[in-house]
């Protein structure tokens, strides 16, 4: 568990109010670095507002009591699991989901999702790896909100040629990679727990190395796991962004807001890039180099 998580716990202890006085309930799953960073940003953004933090691991009675408390003004669910828990309860207070993959339509709820727009990703890649403008995309039709044509059109607008391969499950992942081999300069991966998880990551990275096809992941964990580079949201800023949304909602504005990340971070796995023989331009961007 990183230092971020530790600070988050300390902050929790500092800002948590006894049950009777809480106004904003934050449903939070400790132990995930990204969530901890977002939580930090959220708490910093909420300022002096009363926050009740509910640990997802505490069990159903505590959760129900917290969600149905009369003084609850708003519920913030950090992460898809927390959001699912909230959605499974009948709650009257508005809900904001943050650090989710894509938002689900929910009445009187807003969310800040993790999906970095293709335009931001292409921009980052242009700066990171100039002269390489052929992008490969593996699309899960069950999860993707965009069609293949839409993705190709967006890439074209950014000056990239793209090749989109559909893959509806982990069984076809390697085949999709093989289909892209030699035709694109890099593979752009969108967050998808079905396609990219602890089981599939290893064969995917091996295929990437064998095919000499760099993977551009969507999280620092993905980069550490073997992606050549990663483009992902600035989680702390996402937390602040969520806090701003919460305050707007509390003030009566824009309850069904649907936002994506405002700031991105880039990380490069130096070991993988050496093995691939790739040289990213890390001087032009604030890049975290993982050795």
């Amino acid at each position: 568990m990183g230092i971020t998580s530790l600070l988050a716990r300390l902050w929790l202890a500092a800002v948590s109010l006894p049950t009777a006085h809480a106004a904003i309930v934050v449903l939070y799953e400790p132990g995930v670095d990204a969530y901890s960073e977002a939580f930090e940003g959220l708490c910093a953004g909420l300022g002096g507002n009363a926050v009740r933090v509910v640990d997802l691991r505490q069990g159903e009675p505590t959760l129900t009591r917290a969600l149905s408390a009369k003084d609850t003004q708003l519920i913030v669910a950090v992460g898809s699991r927390a959001l699912a828990e909230v959605q499974s309860h009948k709650v009257s207070a508005p809900v904001v989901g943050t650090m989710v993959l894509h938002g689900r339509e929910m009445e009187e709820s807003g969310h800040v999702d993790l999906e970095v727009p293709l335009s931001m990703q292409c921009g980052a890649m242009r700066a990171l790896w100039p002269q390489h403008a052929r992008v490969g995309i593996i699309r899960n039709p069950a999860r993707s909100r965009y069609s293949a044509e839409a993705l190709e059109s967006r890439a074209r607008k950014e000056g990239f040629t793209s090749l989109v391969v559909d893959c509806d499950g982990p069984g076809g992942l390697l085949k999709a990679v093989a289909a892209l081999k030699g035709k694109v300069d890099f593979l752009l991966c969108f967050p998808d727990p079905d396609l990219y998880n602890a089981v599939t990551i290893k064969p995917l990275v091996m295929a990437s190395l064998e095919s000499r096809l760099p993977i551009i992941g969507f999280s620092p964990a993905f980069v550490r796991a073997g992606a050549a580079a990663g483009i992902y949201p600035d989680y702390r800023d996402t937390g602040r962004q969520t806090a701003e949304m919460v305050l707007r909602i509390l003030h009566g504005d824009d309850r069904a807001a649907d936002e994506g990340p405002r700031k991105i971070q880039v990380a490069v796995n130096q070991r993988i890039t050496r093995l691939l023989g790739v040289e990213f331009q890390t001087a032009s961007l604030p890049v975290e180099v993982l050795r």
Binding site: G226, L276, G277, E279, L290
Partner: protein, 501 residues
């Protein structure tokens, strides 16, 4: 030990078969143990290599992406595997090695039996450059080796098993050898017991006890040897009995000859002597009318004495009792003497006697008396079986094989001898046929005696004859070598001494 080896068949066989058995058993034991040890080492190596290969495969991705926590997880899992003493995973691209030891120490084990296997972790094979990397100026795709997996694999169990097998095999080999030695000793003693009893029996036979027989225990080689030995002892006993009997017979024959020689000759000599004496008395006293009768008595006695002498001579020759007294003498002298002796017989049948002696056949070293006896018999026969003819005696020297011989050839122009009778001529008591005996008389022993005498002297008698034309009897006697101190003996003195009887 050396004395025992030299003097004991049992010891020699035991030592040699023991040495052979020991060599075989320990050779086979060594071969078995070497094979077992080698197989065991191979098994251990294979297991260790397989485990190292597995760990290398497991570690490949973690080393690829630099995931130290995954390496630690792999190392922790590996150390819990049976017989793994330590695991060291080294990422070639940086970072301290991940090292796990079974007992938690941070260094290599000491004082334990183990083998160390190292396996390189290589990055996966990559496709040939195409697309963006083809023709690009990008630097090569990093090192081929991602890291090293080192594994310490304990061989304590195998070492203990190896020791157990070695000790138990060696103990079994010794036990087997001891049992084999015991069984062989018993078996050899059983086999050799008949030989020992045969040896004891042989000693008794050597001491003169021919009454017993060795026991045949088994019908094997030793049993057959024992049976053959028993048969030999039986025959030896029979031979000894025959020998005793033969010796007794021989002694009896010698006594008979001596007795008969004396008993027969004495009265005959008395008859001859007294007839001569009476003739002299009658002549002195002028008594007439008795001279013819007395002459007949004397002649008959002489003939009988001659016959008795012939029979006794033959018996002596048969019994091997004739002794020769070789001396050097002149052959022509003897021939002349014989001619003079048979002259009356030759004159009686109106035969002419001639002598032809070669000058180089003068001297001979042989028994004078026996030489004269044989020659006299031949010339007498020639004169007896020839009428109105010629009897010639030729003496010459010839070489018969390695020997120089004197050849005395007695040739006559008499009746001759048919070929079928020539082969029986020298047999005792055979004269030719019954008519010869009736016409010419005689015992048929003359030629048999003459041949025996010639053969005793180292020579022989042969005959060539043609019926109606005559015969040629040839007597060959080796010239002989007189002893260094031999003197020439005068014919007259030696013959007188020899004729004494």
């Amino acid at each position: 030990m050396i004395r025992a080896l030299q003097h004991s068949l049992l010891t020699r066989v035991l030592v040699s078969s023991g040495a052979l058995a020991s060599l075989s058993v320990f050779g086979l034991t060594s071969l078995f143990l070497w094979n077992y040890s080698r197989d065991l080492d191979r098994q251990i190596s294979r297991r260790a290599e397989a485990l190292a290969g597995f760990l290398a495969g497991q570690s490949q991705f973690a080393m690829l992406v630099g995931d130290r926590s995954d390496l630690e997880r792999i190392g922790r899992n590996a150390i819990s595997t049976d017989q793994v003493l330590f695991v060291e995973l080294t990422d070639a691209l940086g970072g301290a090695p991940v090292f796990f030891h079974r007992d938690g120490s941070s260094s290599r084990p000491s004082g334990q039996h183990y083998i160390e296997i190292a396996r390189n972790v290589m990055r996966p094979a990559q496709a040939e450059p195409s697309g963006w990397e083809a023709g690009s100026m990008e630097r090569p795709a990093g090192p081929a080796q991602l890291g090293v997996v080192r594994l310490g694999f304990s061989t304590e169990k195998e070492h203990a098993a190896r020791l157990r097998i070695v000790w138990s095999t060696v103990a079994m080999a010794f036990a087997f050898l001891l049992m084999a030695a015991g069984v062989e000793t018993i078996e050899l003693r059983t086999l050799l017991r008949p030989l020992q009893s045969l040896t004891e029996f042989t000693r008794r036979v050597a001491d003169g006890d021919l009454s017993g027989r060795a026991e045949v225990v088994r019908p094997d080689e030793v049993g057959r040897l024992t049976m053959a030995f028993n048969r030999m002892v039986e025959r030896l006993g029979a031979t000894l009995v025959s020998k005793d009997a033969a010796e007794a017979a021989d002694a009896a024959k010698t006594r008979f000859l001596a007795t008969m020689s004396h008993e027969l000759r004495t009265p005959l000599n008395a008859v001859i002597g007294y007839s001569q004496l009476i003739q002299e008395v009658c002549q002195d006293r002028g008594i007439e009318g008795l001279a013819d009768d007395l002459g007949r008595i004397e002649r008959a006695g002489g003939v009988l004495l001659h016959l008795v002498n012939q029979v006794l001579d033959f018996s002596k020759a048969e019994a091997g009792r004739i002794e020769l007294y070789p001396e050097t003498f002149l052959v022509p002298s003897v021939v002349q003497d014989v001619i003079d002796t048979v002259a009356p017989l030759a004159g009686k049948n109106r035969n002419r006697l001639t002598v032809n002696a070669s000058p180089d056949a003068a001297e001979i070293h042989a028994d004078l008396v026996r030489f004269r006896q044989s020659l006299l018999n031949l010339v007498s026969n020639a004169c007896k079986f020839t009428q109105d003819g010629e009897v010639s005696v030729a003496v010459s020297r010839e070489r018969s094989g390695p020997l120089d011989c004197v050849l005395v050839s007695v040739k006559d122009t008499g009746v001759g001898i048919p070929p079928e009778q020539q082969s029986r001529l020298f047999q005792a008591f055979v004269q030719g046929d019954a008519s010869t005996t009736r016409k010419y008389g005689g015992t048929g022993l003359g030629l048999a005696i003459s041949r025996k005498l010639c053969r005793l002297m180292g020579g022989d008698i042969s005959v060539e004859s043609e019926p109606g034309k005559g015969s040629n009897f040839m007597m060959r006697i080796p010239v002989g070598t007189p002893p260094p101190a031999a003197r020439e003996v005068e014919y007259g003195a030696s013959s007188a001494a020899a004729l004494g009887g």
